[in-house]
């Protein structure tokens, strides 16, 4: 039996949050925000990583404004993950 993608985890009843690029249609993504130690322990940076379907975020480039769970961010990087069905957006909090 073939395995079909259900994308069930992109659900606001699970870990998903509502996102919107500019005035475009809303979509669901998953936001992670790990803390990273930089420069050999001199500084801390909270990273904002949004996982979403590539088809929802393919237009984003560095500087694109995006709202995630009603919080404003700008895109730093847009990186396809694995087979490219999903992408990881590295964000800066505005």
């Amino acid at each position: 039996m073939a395995i079909s993608e259900t994308l069930a985890f992109l659900n606001t009843n699970e870990f998903g949050v509502t996102c919107q690029i500019g005035a475009g249609a809303s979509f669901v993504g998953i936001l992670d925000s790990p803390m990273e130690v930089l420069a050999g322990g001199m500084a801390l940076s909270r990273e904002y990583l949004l996982y979403a379907k590539t088809s929802d975020v393919s237009a984003t480039v560095r500087g694109t404004a995006i709202t995630v769970d009603s919080v404003s961010y700008t895109v730093r990087e847009n990186r396809p993950v694995d087979d490219g069905l999903f992408s990881e957006l590295l964000l800066s909090k505005v």
Binding site: A39, S45, S92
Partner: protein
């Protein structure tokens, strides 16, 4: 026990830099700084090298002091400029470090830029402080 000349110099440098506007000045801070804790300026010793003098009972020391400025901005080296020039001006305004040193000279400046939520800049300015102590005691000149 009295402070060494080296400690008096470092403490005085910290005092001289405390009035930098717009940044918090720390002495030898070792904990990482979060986004909300910068701009920050850190004063720390790097090394201290003695040499013999023409006076048999004296040592001349060269203390390397590092002043590190941390900023978070889109162009961090540009943003740091206002702080690094204040560091230079305030230290060069007291070149004998309240009379504890023979002189104080700027040495190298290094720039390190890092990707982060907001780009991080770490700019270190080294200063060489020459001072004199007794051969037998670090607390007396």
């Amino acid at each position: 026990m009295a402070d060494t000349r080296r400690e008096l110099i470092l403490a005085r440098i910290k005092t001289n830099l405390d009035s930098i506007s717009g940044a918090t000045v720390y002495r030898s801070r070792v904990e990482p700084l979060a986004r909300g804790e910068v701009p920050a300026v850190i004063v720390e010793p790097v090394n201290d090298q003695p040499v013999d003098t023409n006076f048999f009972n004296k040592l001349d020391w060269t203390l390397r002091v590092r002043i590190t400025t941390l900023v978070r901005a889109a162009i961090p080296d540009d943003d740091s400029d206002t702080y690094t020039q204040q560091v230079h001006a305030k230290l060069m305004a007291d070149q004998t470090v309240n009379g504890y040193a023979l002189d104080l000279t700027p040495d190298r400046t290094d720039f390190s830029l890092y990707e982060a939520d907001v780009p991080l800049g770490i700019i270190s300015q080294d200063f060489l402080v020459r001072y004199r102590t007794s051969r037998t005691s670090l607390t007396t000149a």
